[in-house]
Symmetry: D2
Subunit: 138 residues, 4 copies
């Protein structure tokens, strides 16, 4: 396929087609070859039992950022495996997941991601994760 010249605009358009992202507010903040960042503003209805960001949404951010990072190098992909390490309580005004491609491939692409909570502009690493993406065979 012809590679987009503007990955940020392309992935922002793709991102708007994900219904869950429209509801919870996951946005594409940055996209460069092999890298993508997604952001999410905190709202109380995104929380788990103790009021922190729900681990499922931490995973959603990690898996989404990983997929977008992979797409910049290998085109359309689907997640086949992802994992989340919950390092610290996910408390913040907003959150950003920064993913990078570790190894692109025709069959599989491996990505890694750091998830930060942002409080008053200060970033704290609250989770790390990995996503393995499978190329969609046309």
């Amino acid at each position: 396929m012809t590679q987009p010249t503007d990955w940020l605009a392309t992935l922002q358009a793709v991102n708007q087609t994900a219904a869950l992202h429209r509801w919870c507010g996951i946005q594409v903040l940055r996209a460069d070859p092999g890298e993508a960042d997604v952001g999410l503003a905190w709202r109380p209805d995104l929380g788990q039992h103790t009021g922190f960001l729900h681990a499922g949404l931490m995973g959603a951010m990690i898996e989404t950022a990983g997929g977008y990072a992979a797409a910049t190098l290998v085109g359309q992909v689907v997640a086949s495996h992802y994992s989340v390490n919950c390092l610290r309580p996910a408390v913040g005004d907003s959150f950003v997941a920064r993913a990078r491609v570790v190894k692109p491939g025709k069959q599989q692409t491996f990505t890694a991601c750091d998830l930060f909570a942002i409080n008053d502009g200060k970033e704290t690493l609250v989770a790390t994760g990995e996503t393995v993406l499978l190329a969609v065979v046309a």
Copy 2:
């Protein structure tokens, strides 16, 4: 602590305190010592780009069911690590995640979970996952 005599009612009450669960509709369907099932009815706003259940919500169900299964044996826990294998497109009228404790522990509890899509009453395994829970030290 005194063990609840009715795990289902206890966990259903806990589940209502999770804001994300109230929004998306994650419910506790079953709870027995070392096991818990959570369910979710499909709605289009739970979807990802292609309209299937979002992988982040698959993870939310797996991690939630694992935590509830662990709680029946070891009390209050927090997830420290979870992983999701996306086996088939998550398309269904509803979904059920069935978790079981693989190994309880004073420090860590290991759980495994199968996630099924239900279509016209027929169950299809769409994902598997693991959650490692850490005991909350009072």
Copy 3:
């Protein structure tokens, strides 16, 4: 390819081509469509710092059994990802890893495995693990 009629003999022959297996003694004990067991007799030189079976060899058994289980359904594969949960000290006269295919696929095959320590004929679950295998494209 023509499927072998005797998976046990086929995989035992394959297993003898793995140099590490010849040294440490990993053997194929059973192979049926979608399932394979590998065994290992304890020797002190297989140990880690405290004298238990080294976690790397636990992984070797899990990844090997998963690969053999996958091969019975999809032919030649290579491991792309595996994980190991260390549940209990791996102490035994011998060890057996029992793997099963969770989902075969043209691109990826997912397997799960239980690793048991055997003491005086009694089996104890000491680890669980998962292996994702990629089909080798001829």
Copy 4:
């Protein structure tokens, strides 16, 4: 406990107590607070079916380096979970696993590791991995 003043010498002494390491040749190359590298020289008897470094030994290096990195910050630990991503064929004259602590903790310590094959002095990333370590309660 009193922290060692020379982590490299301390961990090299510990490493010699692991029988598998003495056989296969896993050595501690570097140790600093929160970081550790282990090395392994290639020998044909460390191989799998196609003659590459066995994935089990890749895991052994990743889990060992992660454990040593953790020990520099939190003292005695045991691995509770590790995972390995096999990115490229593990072919080299020698191999080095470089681990770093992502998050130390009183209960759990999270580490990440890159595994490189070295050919004629040139390093190629062949695997990545994560190890979760549990503090040994005295």
